[in-house]
Symmetry: C2
């Protein structure tokens, strides 16, 4: 009953692995369609069609949309969040912590280019369908380490107090997701070449670390 | 034929003015529903119902959705954009220009609290239904003044070159819209009081002007 979209596979391949392939194709197709048109506008049938499989296969592997969204967050978004935040440790400087978070986030998104527009639409938007699922994956212990490092630097006058040490977490994630999601739109608006993720990362790191101030000061 | 939702009005009121009221109510109801659920999920009937008027009135004043969206951008978003950018003049410092843009944008959004989530959903999202309309309203001459001021400061070493003087326009607008649109979500995530627009503006200005550097440096 199983068919995959890669006919060159040998017919003797174990079923478990072919099943894994079909499931992977479906999950990948789902994330691509979510990024382009949002979760609400993406029925199971469309996902199956894009993967070259049947709607019945979607139901077989993912049961219903709620479970599919659980799988997307658990298998695709949570590992990215973990890779971004797990190296965050106390005693690092706020500068190093922010530089690391931005670098790892940009790198992680380069491997998952469907994430920024999905994040904008389904996490940041009111009524976004991944919001509460993603929220449960945020490593608050790590986020607190960054906020505490900034707050501590503020008490010794090393960072200005108008900067909110908690709000800045949203600034960091929001800047990365927004700039990466809107890179083609930005290119269209300003008649420029689409900025590469690395260039966007450099801009954001410069902005977060010193804004308009020259870095040497 | 015209009915308004404010029965206390005197019956002798001129029709033209009552018409203006009904149209205003419909436009306001439209923006409120757009902010909450997006343009695509908001049929004429829902807008009319929210305004306490009939779908026929929606068609009478706005014809179809395309024309309604033209009116929303022309009458509600374009004036805000103009108020933000028109004071931008050459020979001002990049710091003063950015401070002014953020201040006026935050103030303008306070008067139009439906704008940030609509901006996120319908301008920044791929497939957003206001994207091309809003794009036509961006005052590129003013945007270029800001970019040129930053680029000039970079040539004399007063601003680091990793900061992209054009990309920063998206950073500024994106930070303001994202933080204002997600203020209730932020409060929920971090169990804090919802940050006020003025506090968000102070944070964003500090971030843009000096990032983690103390302002005195």
């Amino acid at each position: 009953m199983l068919t995959t979209r890669k006919p060159k596979r040998s017919p003797g391949r174990p079923v478990a692995s072919a099943e894994g392939d079909a499931r992977d194709h479906l999950l990948t197709a789902a994330t691509e369609l979510f990024a382009r048109q949002g979760v609400a506008a993406t029925p199971f049938a469309a996902i199956a069609k894009r993967a070259g499989l049947t709607p019945a296969m979607m139901h077989y592997y993912f049961n219903d949309r709620e479970h599919l969204l659980d799988c997307v967050v658990e298998e695709k978004i949570a590992p990215l969040i973990a890779s971004v935040w797990s190296p965050v440790q106390p005693n690092a400087s706020p500068e190093d912590l922010i530089r690391g978070v931005v670098e790892r986030l940009v790198a992680g998104v380069e491997r998952n280019p469907w994430i920024p527009s999905t994040w904008m639409r389904e996490v940041l938007n009111e009524g976004g369908l991944l919001r509460s699922r993603v929220l449960r994956k945020l490593p608050f212990d790590k986020v607190r380490i960054l906020s505490a490092a900034i707050a501590q630097a503020q008490t010794r006058g090393a960072i200005e107090t108008n900067l909110d040490p908690v709000l800045i977490v949203f600034s960091i994630l929001g800047l990365v997701m927004m700039h990466l999601a809107t890179a083609p739109f930005f290119a269209e608006v300003f008649h420029r070449k689409e900025p590469k993720p690395q260039a966007i990362g450099r801009h954001i790191t410069a902005l977060l670390l010193h804004g308009l101030k020259p870095s040497g000061q």
